[in-house]
């Protein structure tokens, strides 16, 4: 044997590429070579293509559908309408929110571009041609577009299927267009706080309808094997197991005969959680034709029919003392859900976790109520890169705090510092019912203020305002401060389920004889890099190099049941499942090591990549040796093999937080807003891969920038969707996108096995208020209290005009 110096502890740790290192992504090897495997890449023999006929109107009765011309087109195999789905009871489907939704228009249409018929042909061009030939005769009905008019006594009846139903999935309905009222908090105590308040503010803060718009649209391939009675469904699914269960319930095909596979996914951001008519129609079409059927949404269909987000109109009131201590918060939300309530929230939470709306502040009391209403718009209400309704809540409180600061004549950062939940108050019970796990808000905000030179920025702003007043410049400057607290990691089974399935997540790890491993997960990456980071957790936990661990997700046949990836739940829930599965393996490895070393298992200890005899570091067995032994030399009484599975039911949510500061220069004559600087400090607890965290923050901030500064899915007064193409819907390019500065503090989650909290969505949650506060702050000295988003140049210019600039 060669005399080699044994590797040092640091070298051994490096070799593992475990937690905390900037490990390069394993996914990139295939993606940079065009070898990703996305749904539309799939080609099966005899595959057919489906395409939709969609509604021209926002609200209309369907008098007739004539499919004869379409059916006559050579290559067309079938044209499905609600009448064809009705015998199977598939013309309607349940939504995750406890409502039902039409799969294909049943008697009437309720939003523009709603699915009316599904044309199936042997070629995607032929399907599109034939869809044009389907003749639909409509009788127009009065459209309802403005959610504030939804509950007027004479408002048109949208959902005739709900006639006479005075209660829905979430309690009583007050009106034929009312879906639910959700209330939380202490109404009387809050009213009292407002009665006795020295200072109050009240503002209606609208968070406009937007869309997640991942670069890959929603798509699927359904293949039904008549002989075996088995259905295989490939699709853009953020939650493949849930899709399988829903498919089993809907289709009656036994769940073990349904194989749901989510291959590589080109971005999700909440768009790919729900079940859409395209999936159901593809399945039916495959059953009917006996051929595989592919459905690929185009961009306009994506923006106008699947999964909008937000559309929350939040009347926000804060009570405070005159020296700036908050004493109460009252919020009423009017939530526009569109034609069907298809929110992808945990089932018992019709407004998601909106009750995180007290934010990072120690409110002694609060009350919040949400009224959901139907309108003639597309269904959805998904968590677009945020935990359920958390970005709406963060926007509400963070704008509210700025408006309060302005009324008090206080600096917005100072007001926040004065009201933060203090470090020693954690675990902290919020007035609206959450238990915040950990935080150190003062340190984070102070660090941010120092890094950006906050005091100097305010001095510069003041000087600019004076110069503006003197007429020396037409440029004004805003400093947007946001301090958000997220609530992620849904969730504990005591309060979170989807259609009755508790929101745990899972991991199965198998160590092969040579010490290589495979880990299978219930989650599904859409770009977050799970194949890279999950292996890092295992590497650190059990001492096998990350490069020797393959992570597999998305195949419901091989992966343990899990609830999927959204709401930043992968790290808090699946990450914990990984650690607990790894620890089971480690415990067995310890027994094997002790047996091999001929000592008692209490006398060995784990050391990076091996177990060693306590006090005798030269006597050890590496994990590689232990893996081999697991298959031939286990201690008597122990089963051979080295594998474990873990289903993790989190005891609590995790509460990442962060301090964001945006410096913006605005030309009042053009309304053009320029982000001069954007600083983002995130505290997501233990950091698994800083490179990936920074990438997530960059991406989330860019989406926040898009939302705050330009995105909107708007409708005209008769229900035409405006701006449902990339011509009109703002997706920033590299030119508009600002540069991002990232920073961090680390406050581990005390209840998570590795202390991690999740980060992917924080930048969207915290980013939107930071941009909006910057714009509003710039105009504050001219008497502005609130300008609604999106802050595109036209609207900003108008706001300036209104203020008399």
């Amino acid at each position: 044997m060669n005399e080699m110096t044994p590797p040092t502890a640091a070298e051994r740790t490096d070799k593992l590429q475990g937690m905390g290192c900037r490990r390069k992504r394993v996914e990139d090897v295939r993606f940079t070579q065009g070898r990703g495997n996305y749904v539309d890449d799939l080609k099966l023999p005899g595959m057919l293509y489906g395409d939709f006929v969609r509604s021209s109107y926002g609200h209309a009765r369907i008098k007739s559908i004539d499919t004869s011309k379409a059916k006559a087109v050579p290559g067309v195999v079938a044209v499905l309408t609600a009448a064809d789905l009705a015998p199977l009871k598939l013309h309607w489907m349940p939504t995750l929110a406890g409502d039902v939704q039409m799969v294909l228009a049943d008697g009437k249409v309720l939003f523009q571009n709603q699915e009316i018929a599904f044309v199936v042909a042997n070629d995607r061009y032929v399907a599109a041609d034939a869809a044009e030939l389907v003749e639909v005769e409509y009788e127009e009905l009065p459209p309802l577009v403005d959610p504030f008019k939804a509950m007027a006594p004479d408002a048109p009846v949208l959902r005739e299927d709900l006639a006479g139903k005075t209660s829905g999935a979430h309690g009583p309905r007050k009106h034929h267009n009312h879906i639910f009222e959700w209330t939380v908090g202490d109404r009387e105590a809050t009213d009292l706080a407002f009665r006795d308040a020295e200072v109050t503010i009240k503002e209606m803060l609208s968070y406009q309808r937007v869309h997640p718009s991942p670069l890959e649209t929603c798509q699927c391939v359904a293949s039904f094997d008549k002989i075996k009675g088995e259905l295989t469904l490939w699709g853009t699914f953020q939650a493949p197991h849930v899709v399988r269960t829903v498919a089993a319930i809907l289709s009656g095909i036994p769940e073990h005969k349904i194989h749901v596979i989510a291959p590589d996914i080109g971005g999700g951001f909440g768009n790919k959680v729900g079940v859409y008519p395209g999936y159901v129609c593809s399945v039916v079409a495959s059953i009917v034709t006996g051929k595989p059927v592919k459905w690929v949404e185009d961009r306009i269909e994506n923006l106008s029919a699947t999964a909008f987000a937000r559309d929350y109109h939040m009347t926000t009131e804060i009570a405070a003392t005159k020296d700036g201590k908050v004493t109460g918060l009252r919020v009423h939300v009017l939530a526009d859900h569109g034609a069907f309530d298809a929110c992808a929230d945990p089932s018992k939470w019709p407004a998601g976790f909106f009750n995180i709306v007290t934010g990072s502040y120690d409110f002694p009391t609060a009350h919040c109520s949400v009224d959901g209403v139907y309108t003639n718009k597309a269904p959805g209400g998904v968590a677009y890169r945020c935990s359920f309704r958390v970005t709406e809540a963060a926007y509400c409180i963070e704008r509210g705090m700025d408006i309060l600061a302005q009324k008090l004549g206080m600096d917005p950062a100072e007001l926040r510092l004065k009201n933060f939940v203090r470090r020693e108050q954690f675990p902290y019970q919020s007035a609206l019912g959450w238990e915040y796990d950990s935080g150190d808000y003062h340190t984070a905000l102070r660090q941010g203020m120092e890094k950006v030179g906050y005091t100097a920025l305010r001095a510069e702003q003041k000087a600019k305002q004076e110069a503006f007043r003197r007429g020396e410049t037409r440029e004004i400057m805003g400093v947007g401060v946001c301090f958000f607290t997220e609530i992620v990691g849904a969730g504990p089974s005591k309060n979170c389920d989807i259609l009755g399935i508790a929101m745990f997540d899972s991991c199965e790890i198998r160590i092969h004889p040579t010490g290589a491993a495979i880990a299978r997960m219930g989650t599904k990456s859409q770009g977050q890099g799970h194949e890279t980071t999950y292996a890092q957790i295992i590497a650190s936990e059990i001492g096998i190099p990350a490069d020797d661990i393959m992570v597999e997700e998305g195949n419901t046949d091989t992966a343990p049941y899990g609830l999927g990836t959204y709401g930043s739940r992968s790290t808090p829930v699946a990450g914990a499942a990984i650690a607990t599965a790894a620890r089971k393996i480690k415990a067995k490895a310890q027994m094997i090591a002790a047996y091999l070393l001929e000592v008692h298992h209490d006398d060995v200890e784990f050391d990076i990549d091996r177990f060693r005899v306590k006090g005798l570091p030269e006597k050890f067995k590496t994990m590689k040796e232990i893996s081999w032994a697991a298959y031939n030399a286990v201690p008597p009484g122990l089963e051979p093999g080295l594998e474990a599975v873990s289903y993790y039911d989190p005891p609590n949510m995790t509460y990442p937080f962060g301090a964001y500061i945006c410096v913006m220069d605005i030309d009042v004559d053009t309304g053009v807003c320029k982000v001069r600087r954007f600083y983002a400090l995130d505290d997501c607890g233990t950091r698994i891969n800083p490179m990936i965290i920074e990438g997530q923050v960059h991406g989330g901030l860019t989406e926040a920038f898009a939302i705050a500064m330009g995105q909107e899915i708007a409708y005209d007064e008769i229900g035409n969707v405006k701006g449902a193409s990339l011509m009109d819907f703002f997706l920033p390019t590299a030119v508009e996108t600002p540069k991002w500065e990232t920073d961090f503090t680390v406050t581990p989650s005390p209840h998570h096995p590795i202390g991690a909290k999740g980060v992917g969505e924080s930048p969207n949650v915290g980013g939107v208020p930071a941009f909006s506060n910057a714009v509003n702050d710039a105009f504050a000295f001219l008497g502005n209290t609130h300008i609604q988003m999106p802050h595109d140049a036209w609207r900003v210019w108008q706001a300036g005009q209104k203020l008399g600039v």
């Binding site: 971005g267 770009g527 490179m691 990438g695 990339l726």
Partner: protein, 164 residues
């Protein structure tokens, strides 16, 4: 619909096929040739996911008919690796600098960056941002894509500097 015979060179290989006059180049590449690296994000020329290199220009292949590419010399992501099988500096750069997340924009981005660096081997950051402004990415916020292109630019110009 009547079909037309087309021939072209893709990644150095002569290829041919029968297409309808309206068949988009992206569909010809993906369906007929099974080159699924280039993606479809919009079909309206906005996103750049379908970008390929055609006769020395970046084109959005969702906005070119296959018949228009008759006789053309096309390069796609599948043809980006060096002849010796090693990866192109841009492919390395995107991985090294974490210039991708879901990977859906990546083939188009790399092909666009390839042409950009052919035209301007040492672009400034602003030139890179302008140069890739026809390609959307929903995941990365572009900062690391810019860094990836800078990485490749430096790597590609390094040997020449040594020679000089």
């Amino acid at each position: 619909m009547a079909k037309t015979h087309v021939t072209m060179t893709v990644n150095g290989q002569a290829v041919e096929g029968l297409v309808e006059p309206r068949t988009l180049l992206i569909h010809f590449l993906r369906e007929n040739l099974s080159l699924t690296g280039a993606h479809i994000g919009c079909e309206t020329s906005h996103c750049g996911a379908c970008t390929v290199d055609l006769d020395g220009q970046s084109v959005k292949s969702c906005t070119v008919f296959a018949v228009q590419a008759q006789g053309a010399d096309i390069r796609t992501i599948e043809g980006m690796a060096n002849p010796d099988g090693t990866l192109h500096a841009l492919q390395d750069g995107f991985r090294e600098m974490h210039g991708l997340q879901c990977g859906f924009c990546t083939p188009g981005m790399i092909l666009r960056a390839y042409r950009l660096l052919q035209e301007n081997p040492n672009p400034t950051e602003d030139e890179i941002r302008m140069g890739i402004s026809g390609n959307l990415c929903r995941c990365t916020g572009y900062q690391n894509i810019v860094a990836a292109i800078q990485y490749a630019a430096a790597k590609l110009s390094a040997p020449q500097e040594q020679a000089a």
